[in-house]
Amino acid sequence: MNEFVEECRTEWRRLGVRDVDANEMAADLAADIAEAEAEGGSAEDVLGTSAFDPRGFAAAWAAARGLTGLPVTVSGPAVLGSAGAPASGRRRRAAPVAAVVLGLVAAAAALVVADGAGGQSFAFAVRRIAVRSGSVGITPGPGPRLGVPGQLLRPVMAGQVGDGGMQLLAFLVFVVAMVALVVLIAVRWSPWTLQRRSGRGPRAGGPPVAGWS
């Protein structure tokens, strides 16, 4: 078999491409190169500049077909009407979805807590969380104070969750959701993270590209 095809096979093996897929690509490639040579041409007529980079070509082809775990490169033309979204796109959407879910959870918990606090209005501009003997509360600056009365804490501390236990649970859920939301925002959208992400090349982590992918 053609030396170029053998190089491709080696690369596909290294990338973990299944034999059935590697055999199919190798057979097509060998047949096309053989036809070009029979017509007086060369592998370059079939492969263009990729003829000089078998490993890169093999990796790009396998990635484009979704046969490896490597991300599909973005250097090629945008395929119109593309039906499939790459995994990295799904990951990018996961963070905003998680942020919205956390926000909704926090809002729902806040409503439950506010209801249990006698209808006091809830301020979102939380400045500090105060923990005092007998009560736990969020102090939103100079505005009205939202708190969990000590009466609610005592049954829980004693292992008896009564009617007021719901408010305490909601308060804890609110705190956890807010902390998770702040951490998520800091990790995903902080200036440092955005700067680091923009510094990456489009092919980072991807296979070497030789050809139109």
Binding site: E24, M25, A27, D28, L29, A31, D32, A34, E35, A36, E44, D45, V46, L47, G48, T49, S50, F57, A60, W61, A62, A63, A64, R65, G66, V72, S75, G76, P77, A78, V79, L80, G81, S82, A83, G84, V209, A210, G211, W212, S213
Partner: protein, 117 residues
């Protein structure tokens, strides 16, 4: 690679998928057959990259259908043909290309007139 060849590559990069879909519209074709059809239209792949990764993407995205069949006197080949979704994508892409081409022609036409003058 010279500046002119580099520019040509960049220009082709954005529309080669449309060119491939277009030559498939003439009838199912295997990889090298499509390369030859493109060459007949002045798009030689020598000096450019291979079309195989792009064909892989088109297949993965459902824009082309494939089947394995015997070629003329040769071994069985993988034939690519347009899928209905590929037909729609080609139509939309060609319309988009024409709008872009006209706009670029309008801009470059002025430059050419100045150079000639």
């Amino acid at each position: 690679m010279g500046t002119q060849e580099g520019r040509r590559s960049q220009l082709l990069r954005g529309v080669l998928d449309l060119c491939l879909l277009s030559v498939m519209r003439e009838g199912p074709a295997y990889g090298y057959e499509m390369t030859k059809r493109l060459r007949e239209r002045g798009l030689s792949m020598v000096g450019e990259g291979s079309i195989y990764p792009l064909l892989g993407r088109l297949e993965r995205d459902g824009l082309v259908e494939t089947r394995r069949a015997a070629s003329n006197g040769g071994p069985p080949r993988k034939y690519y043909s347009l899928s209905p979704e590929g037909e729609r994508a080609l139509g939309a892409g060609v319309a988009e290309w024409q709008v872009t081409r006209d706009a670029v022609d309008g801009a470059l036409g002025l430059v050419e007139a100045e150079v000639v003058a």
